[in-house]
């Protein structure tokens, strides 16, 4: 809703007593429904156009599609994998790994990040070390993790947790440090207790940045699950990827990538959805 329609809607609700002016209110609230359907469709336009164009190019014989299979072939591979139950099994395994790694990473980052954000002493003590570790590309841990933890679940989950930890830690610590002084002073003026101060001032102030950091953490989690599964796996979407590579089946590789995209987007959406009720208070300029 644009700012303009918002003001109009506000004016209308202000004078809702007269029946003649009730109609525009209804129209304003009915409009988002059609838009709600239109908006995702708009997001699909670009991939669909590209897919159709590539299908057309291959059908016309302008390109062989041997190394970059057309959508119809990828879809057939997808259906094949789904019918044998392989796709579901591999997706669930990968999802489980990401969930475990994300859970551990977020838990650790939240505790340590909150402590470092809240207490200057803790921050001076541990933040430099953590920033040092953060500078190491997480992929560099792979050989060590293989030596210490082998190539199976333990090392995979650890690698994902490491990837998730840093953005969440950094986001949370930064958010706590940058809570508006004026808000805190208002809380003091109302003589809030420490618990209430955290619940009513600090938590709401920190949450938006925390949710963003969770989302980027999850994104990294998906990135690292691939790295983890490339180091040897007997199941998971990464396994499908390597299988497609070793047997020279590009369609299977793309199918695995598409599965990654769908599941990754879905989990990101879940975070947004779960966080929405807690972010209601935000008073921001919304463009959508």
């Amino acid at each position: 809703m644009s700012p303009v329609t918002m003001t109009i809607a506000a004016q209308n609700t202000g004078s809702e007593g007269t029946p003649s002016e009730a109609a525009p209110v209804e129209r304003a609230s009915a409009r988002p429904w059609s838009r709600r359907l239109m908006r995702p469709a708009l997001g699909l336009a670009l991939p669909v156009v590209l897919a159709v164009a590539w299908e057309f190019i291959v059908r016309m014989g302008w390109a062989s599609g041997r190394l970059a299979p057309p959508p119809s072939v990828i879809f057939a591979t997808f259906v094949d994998l789904a019918r044998t139950g392989e796709l579901q099994r591999h997706t669930l395994v990968t999802l489980g790994r990401v969930a475990a790694g994300f859970g551990i990473g977020v838990a650790a980052a939240t505790v340590i990040g909150a402590a470092a954000g809240y207490s200057p002493l803790v921050r001076r003590l541990i933040d430099p070390s953590i920033q040092g570790l953060r500078a190491i590309p997480s992929i560099a841990w792979v050989p060590l993790f293989i030596l210490w933890l082998g190539i199976f679940e333990a090392s995979k989950v650890t690698l994902i947790a490491v990837g998730v930890f840093f953005p969440v830690y950094l986001g949370l610590m930064g958010a706590i440090q940058s809570v508006d002084r004026k808000l805190v002073e208002v809380g003091r003026a109302f003589r809030l207790s420490d618990v209430e101060m955290v619940r009513r001032i600090l938590l709401p102030a920190v949450l938006p940045a925390y949710v963003i950091s969770l989302r980027s953490g999850l994104g990294l989690g998906w990135m690292f699950v691939i790295a983890a599964e490339l180091m040897g796996a007997s199941e998971g979407l990464g396994y499908l990827l390597i299988d497609g590579q070793q047997l020279g089946k590009p369609a299977e590789i793309v199918a695995a990538i598409v599965a990654f995209a769908i599941v990754g987007k879905a989990t990101d959406w879940l975070i947004v959805l779960a966080a929405a009720p807690f972010l209601r208070w935000e008073d921001v300029v919304r463009q959508d």
């Binding site: 190394l67 190539i151 199976f152 040897g232 390597i242 070793q246 020279g248």
Partner: protein, 321 residues
């Protein structure tokens, strides 16, 4: 504006077209050829600079690319990154069935390079013992095909084991570390595991090793049939040199791989014969048997005409007498 459009168009063309197409007919600026620890011949070729000498006068350079297994050689051939790649015969067939436009043009060895391997302390003694176990394997290679056929021979399939996809050298490390219980091995890593770590080959079957084959892409063969003949003629020189000078072959191999002499002797002396060159009836039959077994095991779809694909795959016109 025009130049930008032109730039965009050529960028699009460059990304869409296979790399090989960009090279016009006539003669290439370089020939790209693979070397691998499972193929001793190109090591000698490379060491003596035989191909470089042969093509110097034409102004054609030689670029050497290492491949870690048949799957990698096929991947590079598919992408047009190499012109000649060493694979197992059955691996080439599987690649061709999966849409890789290659031709098998030359036999570089008759190896027994794969077997099923386990550590000395595991309870695994026969194929049946693999049920439910983790087995390291590289899909699309002779060890993979060997494993599938071995399982098939006792009525099992890959579903009865837990295949762990690792490239050959990583498979050996995973076995020795204890991450997996068995490994569909490949020489020289397999010989090294035997000598250095006491690994056991619990299932061997020389007849199910499907020849060391040199492949090229259809496109390279179409554009440069004469160059191909010359490459194979030089390959023949190196193969014959190896046959006549084992000690020098061994020295070159040890220089490159840094493996101890005992390991190299097992691979090159006991398990590799370099007395063949043509993809003849014997080789075809061996590859066909592997293909039919793979079809029975479901690795090759039932609707594929394996025999016809084999005919399309093999082309032995480029080898001299």
């Amino acid at each position: 504006m025009l130049s930008r459009r032109h730039l965009l168009a050529s960028a699009a063309a460059a990304t869409l077209m296979p790399a090989g197409l960009a090279r016009a007919a006539g003669k290439p600026t370089e020939i790209r050829i693979d070397w691998a620890t499972y193929n001793p011949v190109p090591m000698v070729l490379k060491d003596k600079g035989l191909l470089e000498k042969e093509f110097e006068k034409d102004g054609i350079g030689i670029r050497w690319v290492q491949t870690l297994g048949s799957n990698k050689a096929l991947e590079f051939l598919n992408a047009g990154s190499i012109d000649f790649g060493s694979t197992a015969g059955s691996a080439a067939l599987l690649g061709r069935i999966n849409g890789n436009p290659i031709k098998s043009i030359y036999v570089f060895s008759r190896p027994e390079w794969t077997a099923l391997v386990t550590r000395k302390d595991t309870p695994i003694n026969k194929i049946e013992d693999l049920r439910g176990k983790r087995v390291a394997v590289t899909r699309g290679t002779d060890p993979h095909i060997f494993l599938v056929r071995a399982l098939l021979s006792v009525g099992m399939s890959e579903k009865d084991i837990q295949p762990v996809l690792l490239q050959h050298p990583d498979g050996k490390i995973a076995l020795i570390r204890g991450d997996v219980d068995a490994w569909a091995g490949l020489d020289p890593m397999m010989a090294a595991a035997q000598v250095e770590d006491g690994a056991r080959l619990f299932y061997r079957n020389k007849a199910a090793n499907t020849w060391g084959i040199l492949n090229s892409s259809e496109e390279f063969l179409k554009n440069y049939p004469d160059l191909t003949k010359r490459v194979l003629a030089v390959y023949e020189q190196a193969r014959k040199y190896c046959l006549a000078n084992y000690d020098d072959e061994k020295r070159v191999f040890m220089d490159v791989t840094k493996l101890p002499g005992a390991v190299v002797d097992i691979q090159l002396k006991e398990r590799t014969e370099l007395t063949f060159n043509r993809v003849g009836p014997e080789q075809r039959d061996s590859i066909l048997q592997a293909g039919l077994a793979l079809q029975q095991a479901g690795v090759i779809p039932a609707n594929v005409d394996v025999k016809q694909t084999l005919n399309d795959l093999v082309d032995d016109r480029y080898v001299g007498a």
